[in-house]
Symmetry: C2
Subunit: 206 residues, 2 copies
DNA sequence: AAACTGAATTGAACTTGACTCAAGTTGATC
DNA sequence: GATCAACTTGAGTCAAGTTCAATTCAGTTT
């Protein structure tokens, strides 16, 4: 496990502040709709100072996406590591997917609203580096879910099916929520979590 | 049911050609990545001629989205109209959702990659009109699925659950495919359709 | 303390691509 | 062949992202 070192070292670096502000702006206003200069304003620096930390607005977006993917994968691993029963592991994984802060909800929204960015190659070096890394993390997360299903199937707990396809389905079902969910909305996240948890179990274990 | 009259009347109108070209470009290259002028080129007209038909690039996108939503709703209605058994209706609806041409696949991709556009209001009149109409169609499609579930639940065929939330889940699961599916990919759409059909039935009817 | 260093920051100019406008062309109809 | 609406264009404007050379700042060396 080579843990990446985020370049946030310098004590007067505003990288973290920029990322936080960008998540707020991109998440609430939308990536295209938010002016890059607005992010600078919110941090309290000039527009051009942003380019000291990120090569472009898109580079910042890709970084946010990669960080969120990393977080998702890590949380999945932590949560399911010590659960042997496949059904319980599945339940725990779904619950973990919805055990998130408001800020993380925004990151989810940003991530899934811009997944298409990961398909085509980018022109600049650093953007492309982030894209490739994010792309790999997507595959890693997909494999996380596939493996969970494979484990259950080989134990005879889940009926045999195309684990990869079904895993994509489960994952798709879970993340589809971030398209429409708003913390201010009428349905509490806990209720959603419960319903999706049940749905996933039925989908996989029936 | 007031059926909208698409302004494609004039015999030398290139509106349909523009829409078709835009679907190809936006679907393959992505909306942001494709230059508006490229669409004009592909149709064989000057860039400014586009503005005779669409107020803006975004207006064209919103129109594509609305048309696709209309198509989805119509297809759902046609398919489920004469099926009384809820389980069979559900199966038929899922199958219909994946019974699409290559061009329609692109439209799906475009639609679901830009759903977020429908949340915030637009500045210009015609864009806003398309947005509102699309927004209503989204709700209509959601209601289509919810009603299908409600019908099954009240008949005692489906266990009682939050039909609206479960409907959103089913719909989310189905459309999540358009994020990653490519006709050139390894998995044929028929296989995906079968797996999702089964998954939906288990999710809802178990 | 003065000199030095690299990180951080800035204002002004540049680039790109969406969009506007005034003027022109085309084709159906009378 | 005159008229009118639909359609098309060239020559621009404008907004927002980006580049770059010059500058400030904080910490380190001498």
């Amino acid at each position: 496990m080579a843990t990446r070192v985020e370049p946030e070292a310098g004590p007067r670096s505003k990288r973290a502040a920029i990322l936080a502000a960008a998540v707020d702006c991109f998440g609430e206003t939308g990536f295209e709709a938010t002016k890059w200069s607005t992010v600078a304003e919110r941090v309290g620096i000039g527009q051009t100072a942003l380019y000291h930390y990120f090569e472009s607005k898109t580079h910042c977006l890709l970084t946010i996406m990669r960080l969120e993917l990393q977080r998702s994968h890590d949380k999945f691993s932590e949560t399911t590591a010590d659960v042997t029963d496949p059904v319980e592991a599945l339940r725990a994984a779904v619950r973990a997917a919805y055990d998130v802060s408001d800020h993380e909800i925004l990151q989810m929204r940003i991530l899934h609203n811009h997944m298409d960015l990961l398909s085509g190659p980018r022109k600049s070096k650093r953007e492309e580096a982030e894209r490739v890394e994010a792309r790999q993390l997507v595959q890693l997360v997909e494999r996380d879910w596939t493996n969970l299903l494979v484990r259950g199937m080989s134990q005879g707990v889940f009926p045999l099916r195309d684990a990869q396809l079904l895993g994509a389905g489960v994952l798709g079902l879970i993340v589809s929520v971030w398209r429409w969910y708003r913390p201010s909305g009428p349905t509490p996240l806990s209720e959603i979590s419960d319903l999706i948890e049940g749905a996933c179990v039925r989908m996989v274990a029936t």
